[in-house]
Symmetry: none
DNA sequence: TCCAAAATACCTCTTTTGGGGTATTAGAGG
DNA sequence: CCTCTAATACCCCAAAAGAGGTATTTTGGA
């Protein structure tokens, strides 16, 4: 019997999944919490085989919760659950050590399979996102290097821009000349091949540098 | 026995709710579809007491589907189901004739109660949103999410901005005047209280509207 | 049918960007 | 010691953004 801990702020979803698995499935939802911090307590008190974790939760999100779990030394495989299929999230989750990734529009059969594979510490990718993951690992080098070319100062400037400041305000905050800020901005735009500040912020957020 | 039709693109959720209700609950999920158009077919063929409708679906969303149902003359009470608690969505759903509104983080007991009330054509508001609804009807549609004030066109403009286009380019893409684009941009900035396009994109991405 | 909101369009004006240069200084690394 | 990069700073200039108006048309809801 695979013992599942569900971490999800949507009670209905958790209750639904719990009632979905019968004894013949060899899977049982033994615990449920919407609170990332309570996960640690549950892990210390009970035997858990797989954590089914929702990505988007208020306060402490899925990745943060998983990071916390790993930091505390618990080695329980985590199956990430989400509505979104953004490569950004997938990347974040896998980077932090998630065992698998499944979408909320999966079928029961797919979830069952995902849980079984996860409990055996095998990776599971939901079909709908596997193409994106593949694309990502193929195109990784070029897109990431672009961001790596940025200096610390340049990234600092981008953060200030996202905060709504113009060159003059940034100059004052950093105690440098407005000319310097403009030079940094120009260099950033050229390095990332963007035409406007708006596009710059979009790219910076997509690549998670801010 | 209250017969339920679930309209939701998340299979897992639908399957979960279906298995959640036992015979003693006097509630049964008899049909399920992720396709708004198939709802009409199901309604014509089967007896349905309550429709449990997800708000956010691709292509035809919850409100559009409900509107379609009402237009075709079906008088089945609709219980709206959502993750978001935006006052704009609540307003839209109720305005179009939804009988109730429940969040996906409700408990089974709450859902049961909501379904029972809906089947009797009584209104149900999930506790977490009733405060907002109350505020709204008092005249204070206050400020929780400024994003709700944005029109569809305005959001479209923001997406183009994030794509690196300037006002002139956006005007060409949308076949409107550059003046109009600049007016939209000005209105957006005022509504969201941002000073630059960069800050606008940051906010829009944080709030996940783009 | 009538009202309100949204979308459309144009005006003027100042400030800021974005793009092109050039150049000095400090620090890291061969 | 020399080179390369990052950070600094300044010049010019055209284009765009931002901020203030006003006003018409379209559209959806009461």
């Amino acid at each position: 019997m695979i013992k599942i801990l569900i971490v999800d702020d949507h009670h209905l979803f958790a209750e639904g999944v719990k009632s979905m698995f019968k004894s013949e499935d060899n899977i049982e939802v033994t615990h449920y919490t919407a609170n990332g911090n309570e996960v640690l307590h549950l892990l210390s008190e009970h035997e858990i085989d797989v954590i089914l974790m929702d990505m988007s939760m208020p306060i402490l999100d899925g990745i943060a919760t998983m990071t916390l779990i790993k930091e505390k030394g618990y080695d329980v495989p985590v199956l990430m659950l989400t509505m979104h299929q953004s490569i950004k999230q997938v990347k974040g989750a896998l980077g932090k050590g998630a065992q698998g990734y499944i979408l909320k529009d999966a079928s029961k059969a797919e979830l069952k399979q995902a849980i079984e594979l996860t409990s055996q510490r095998k990776n599971y990718f939901h079909p709908k996102i596997s193409d994106q993951v593949f694309d990502y690992f193929r195109g990784k080098s070029s897109s990431k290097n672009e961001m790596n070319e940025l200096s610390e100062r340049e990234i600092e400037i981008i953060k200030y821009l996202a905060d709504g400041r113009n060159s003059k305000a940034i100059a004052k905050s950093l105690f440098i000349s407005e000319h310097t800020v403009k030079t940094h901005r120009r260099n950033i735009m050229h390095k990332l091949h963007v035409k406007t500040s708006a596009e710059l912020i979009k790219l910076a957020m997509d690549k998670e540098i801010i």
